[in-house]
Structure formats: structure tokens, C-alpha cells
Symmetry: D3
Subunit: 152 residues, 6 copies
């Protein structure tokens, strides 16, 4: 049976932290989906098409990787694509607290889906899309925190 995993996120924008987690998760699975979650409440800084295009620029040539946007529950999207594993990176204890609750609630609802966590590369610990957006909004240079393949 194929082992299929989902890396969900908003990727607004994708950072070198995301790329590190995706690259490290790849050897564990036969197929890896990068799912761009649509959030009806929070407004994104970059349009969905742009965020998707950036990811495809980075991973487009990799046959194991698929990119798709989705709305609704992440677990429902997992079922749709046949993924039994959700991959998340953890950077800080605040991340941990948040991710733990989500993972445990998902598991309570869908015991067949397992959430799997990787520890962030320490050098990338502080990099979050939130801070990257903040730098961009204030006219700063965030290029060292995003993959070299994308131009903001």
C-alpha cells in the first residue's frame, strides 16, 4: 500500500522553514501532498495562485509531490486524497501547544489519520510566515527567509 502524507499550511508565503520540513519528510512517504488551506476568516497577504505557483516552482519537477488548495477540514482533505499522515514542523512551545490540541482532536475524530511532527531545523526556528509578512509589510528585506526560487 502506498504511504501518502499531507503537509497542510497557508504558505503565505512559503519559507525556507517549510521547505526544510517537506524535504525531510519526503523519504518517509511514497507520495507527499502540499495542501494550501483556504481560510475563510483570515485574509492572506499573497493571493492563492501566487502561493501555489511558488510551491510548484520549487517542487514542480518532483514526481512524488502534488500541490493542491483545499477548503474545509484538513482531515476531510486527507480522506479525499487517501493520505493517512499529516506532517507538521514544530518550532516553539507555543507551536507545540497549538499543534498538540489540533492533532489530538483530529485523532479523536479520525483515528485512522496520524499526525507526525518534525523538529524545525534550529537555524530556522525563528522563521514564520507571520514575521516574514510583517517584514514585507514594513518594507524590509525578507529574501533570506524564503526559497531562492521565488521572487516576492
Amino acid at each position: 500500500m502506498k504511504r501518502i502524507a499531507l503537509v497542510p499550511g497557508t504558505f503565505d508565503p512559503i519559507t525556507i522553514g517549510h521547505v526544510d520540513i517537506i524535504d525531510r519528510a519526503l523519504p518517509m512517504f511514497d507520495e507527499l501532498w502540499i495542501g494550501i488551506g483556504r481560510n475563510s476568516i483570515k485574509q492572506s497577504l499573497f493571493p492563492e495562485e501566487k502561493r501555489r505557483e511558488w510551491i510548484e516552482n520549487i517542487y514542480g519537477s518532483n514526481k512524488k509531490i502534488k500541490v493542491e488548495a483545499y477548503e474545509g477540514l484538513t482531515t476531510d482533505f486527507c480522506h479525499k486524497i487517501g493520505a493517512l499522515f499529516i506532517i507538521r514542523g514544530i518550532r516553539t512551545t507555543a507551536d507545540f501547544d497549538y499543534e498538540k490540541n489540533i492533532a489530538q482532536m483530529n485523532k479523536a475524530q479520525y483515528p485512522d489519520i496520524e499526525s507526525i511532527f518534525l523538529m524545525c531545523n534550529p537555524a530556522y526556528t525563528a522563521i514564520s510566515s507571520t514575521i516574514v509578512r510583517d517584514i514585507i509589510r514594513n518594507g524590509g528585506d525578507a529574501s533570506q527567509f524564503i526559497p531562492s526560487q521565488i521572487k516576492l
Copy 2:
């Protein structure tokens, strides 16, 4: 003297986690108020009448329990109902950080009121109204996280 306590919250909606804390706090007090805090800034998912009705369905027959909505400071509501104790459940370190600050600020202002904390039942650690609302908004089934007496 009667020992009166308040369990404040938004209860949007009430979860099995809330019920667990209320049930465990009951033996400690002679009278227990469930106070539905009105928040002028955050919009609730369920109307106040609905939230109150659900709580009354669960606890209506219990003579020790009273249910009431309030606005303004929780400590002012305590004084109004004669409660010297505020009950809160804690689930995570994020909860702890938040609750500690509120409790210490309340104590600084009203030294006669004591905030008392119970540790969440571990099986309910991940359940929060926030995640329950998120599941409902995305069309998921949150019924296992809310008391059986209420129908969403």
C-alpha cells in the same frame, strides 16, 4: 457562611471539558454560578440565549447551580452575586500563562476574591470551544466533544 463560586466563560458552545470542571468543582462549594460573559469585541458563533439554554438543559435540575449572563469585569460580577471564588480549568501551558496573569491581576485589585484552578481531565485536554467552533464552521461532526444533552 455559604461558599459561593463562579465558573465564568463564553461557553460558545459548552463542551464536555467545561462540564467535567463544573462537576468536579461542585462538591467544594455550597452554590455555583455559571456566568456567561458578554464580550463586546469578539462575536460569538451561537447566540447567548442558545448558550444559556444548553447550560440550563444540563444543570437545570441542580439546586446548587445558577446560570446568568453578565457584562463588564468578572470580579464585579463576583461581588454582585457574593462569590469569593472563581473556578477555571487549565489544559495547556498556554492556558496557564493566560490564566495566571488574569488571576494575579484580579487578586491585586480584589484581594478578597480567590481564583481556583483544576487540571483538565487528560482525555479532554485538547477540547476547546475554539476548535469545536472550527469543526462546526467547516461542516465537521463535533458531537463527541459536546454534552449529549445538547443538539447543535
Copy 3:
């Protein structure tokens, strides 16, 4: 029915932080036991008789308070003295993590016993018997951290 609570600890030595928690817990209960836990593994700095004597100097005249040393599980001691409540103060997230586990394990074994937590007075947050002992061992002056009734 009398509401009986236990404040367990090593009290090596009792600090103004302990006294604050005990004083604040008193109004909630009809009887409050201060239980000096004997720890077969960790060596105490002060002998048990001394630690007990200090507590009795502080609370000896209070009819609601009883002081006793115990060995074995804290929950077993609760059953012996008829206490359904264990009182603990929390200072930091490290405390929280530790206390949560103990409380939840106790609850799993003895559902009739409830652990109740008070947030430390912020001014006393940093005071622990561990640091007090460290100051004493290094010849420092720890008098501001211990109750005025006791002379080290």
C-alpha cells in the same frame, strides 16, 4: 460534611510562598492539614523535627490547621485523614507541567480526591525551597524569603 484539605510538601524549609498559599486556601475549607512528606530518596537539608516545629510556630494557634509528617503516597495519606482535596501552589510553567501530571495520575487512581491549584502571589513567584537552600548552603542571607517567625 466537613471539607478537609491537605497541603503536602517537603517544607525544607517553609517559605513565605508556602505561607501565602496556605493562608489563601484556609477560607475554602473547614480543616486544613499541612503534610510533611517523607522522601526516602532525597536527603533534606533540615531535619523533619525542625521543619515541623517551624510550621507549628507559625500556625500552632490556628484551630483549623493540623501538621503531620507522612510517608508513602500522598493520596493514601489523604484517605487516612479524610481529606478529599489536595492544595498546591503553581509558580511557573515547569511547576505546571509537573503538577498537572501528578494531579492527573492521582485522579486516575483515586477519583474521589480533587487537586486544587492556586496561582502563586506574583511577588513570590521566584521563591522556592530549592533556591533558598542553595542560598543558605552558600552562606547567603535568605531571611527575606522565609516567615519571620522562624530562625534558621
Copy 4:
């Protein structure tokens, strides 16, 4: 060379916690700027002029202190005023997680600027502008948490 530091914040309003950090940072530097950050997203409770006036009332006579509002990145403002040090107080682990990320991102972009942290006075640990605003909005009395020089 003059050692110049910046204490950035929203100061909405300035609290006794801020004052404590500023007073303790003063001996370390030859010049200390209090920078009122303009946030285009979050609406402040008090107008910028008011917040600035309060700070000037408190520190106006101190020759080492300068007060100025700024927009954009804090690090850019540092360069503008010649400050190589950013001062921040930390109160809780939530603060720590947040501040660590900001400091490390700033350092990655501007290695010449160092962020320096002081531990909050324990008595002021729970005091945040957020809770102070909440008290004020709900008609409570927050005067014990703000410097005596200012009248809300």
C-alpha cells in the same frame, strides 16, 4: 563610542512594568530612546499624542532619555537613531517564545543590533497593557498598574 539603546513598545498605556524595565536599563547605556511603534493594523485605545505625553511626563527631565514615535521596522528605527541595542522585558513563557523569534529574526537581518532582555520584576509579572486596557474598557480601576504621574 556612545552606547545607545531603544526600548520599543506601543505603551497603550505605559504601565509600571514598562517603567521598571526602563529604569533598570538606564545604567547600562549612555542614551536611551523610548520608541512608540505605530501599528497600521492594530487600533490603539489611547491616541499617540496622549501616550507620548504620559511618557514625557514621567521621563521628561531625564537628559539620557528621548521619546519618539516611529513606523516601519524597529531595526530600521534603530539605525536611524544609532542604537545598537534593543531592550525588552520578559514576563512569561509566552512572552519568551514571541520575543525570541523577533530577536533572532532581527539578528539574522541586522547582525550589528543586539536585543537585550531583562526579567520582569516578579511583582509586575501579570501586568500587561492588554489587561490594563481590558480593565479600563470594562469600567474597572487600573490606577495601581500605571505610573502615578499619569491620569487616564
Copy 5:
């Protein structure tokens, strides 16, 4: 290529928390080693043979699982058995802090080995071998926290 993982631990004794993590990790891998780490500094409560026997009683019939004791670095043992993945469960923020450091140090030394984390089943969050040993040492009944197949 076979995906081989190691679940390292002291298993002093194995708890239902360990079993939950092992059972959930199984579908991800083709071969799963349970490695009993020998610790030259900390004395175990139960002898190594006993701890190994318990694990074999539980998993002996499972062809995918192998049990072996090892000394030295966990990463060296990984190389010896051909495991590219280390599996760990996380229960609390204290766990998280500890595990993050170990995982990041291992990754720095052996970039080919990935540490993978599962969030503890919330119902088992408080269960640790440390507390289980403490209950046993104090004559308490820890049977609900250990797998039914083993008799202490």
C-alpha cells in the same frame, strides 16, 4: 528500500503510553526496533531482562518488531540496525524542550537520521515511567498504567 525505525527508551517499566506510540508508529514503517537503552549513570528499578521480557510478551508475535538492548549513543545503534528514523512520543512542553534539543543535536551529527514525533494520546498524557515507579515504590497500585500482559 525498507523503512526501518527505532523506538528508544528505558522502559522501566513499559507503560500503556509507550504501547500507544509503538502501535501508532507501526503502519509507517516496514520494521520497528524497540531499543532498551542502557544507562550507566541512572539505576533502573527493574532489571534489563525483566523489561525486555515484558516487551517481548506484548510484541513477540509481531514479525515487524524486534527488541534489543543497546549501550552508547542512540544514533550509533540506529546505524548498526539500519534505522533512519527515531520515534518518540511527546506528552508535555517539558518533554518537547528536552526532545527538541536531543533531536536537533542528533540531526547535526547524523543528518541521515530523522527523529519523528507523535503526540501522546491525551488520556495517557500524565503517565510516565517515573511516576509509575514512584507509585510502585510507595506501595501503590499502578496496574492501570501498564499493559495488561505484564505482571509487576
Copy 6:
């Protein structure tokens, strides 16, 4: 007046994390002492002479830096050398909790001494003398975590 600071530690052994903190603290002060604390309870892995020699190899030519071992309270050593500032690096929330308590207790006893914290370089977050010792004890190669000037 000269600004003198102390960087206290056990330095068993000194790591690239320590060196990073010391290097970043240097511009803030006129004189920086590296104090090797003697701990009567915990046995060090490397003898004091060796640890001191390593530090002197690294910083020996720097006129602003002095190296000395001390026993007793760190604050007493500060007074002896005229240091009004204690420098510490923070890596994790566990560090934060620990350092906060020590700093606040020191401040309560000696209000003239200020503890100052720098956030660890993210790339060095996981590096601690404890883990480095563990690697060395188990025959691993820890050379990438210690300064190139020293040979273990």
C-alpha cells in the same frame, strides 16, 4: 564609571553557544569576567584547570576579558569583582523558567546587580554542555559543538 559584567557558568566544557553569548555581550561592557562556578554538589566531567585553560586559549589575548573560578553565591562574586551585570544566554523555555527564578531572587537580595539575557543564536539552540558531555561519555564526536581552539 566602568561597566563590568560577569558571565557565570560551569563551562564543562565551554561550547560554541557560550562563545557566541560572550562575543555578543562584549560590546556592551568595558570589562567582562568569565566566572567558573565551583559546585560542591555536582561533579564536573573535566577538571577546573582544564576548563579554565580552554577559556584562556580562546580569550587570552583579549584585554577586556578576565577568567576566574569562584565558589559561593554568584552575586557575592559580582561584588568582589565590581560587576553590576550578570550575563546569561537563554535557549529554551526550560532555561527561561530556571533563569527567571534565579535572576529575580538575586535581584531581591542585591537590587544593585542586574541580570541581562541574550537569546541564543538559533543555530546553537540545542547545544548544551549536558548533551555535549553525554556525547563524549558515549564515545561520540562532539567536536562541532565546541570551539575549534580546544582539543578534548
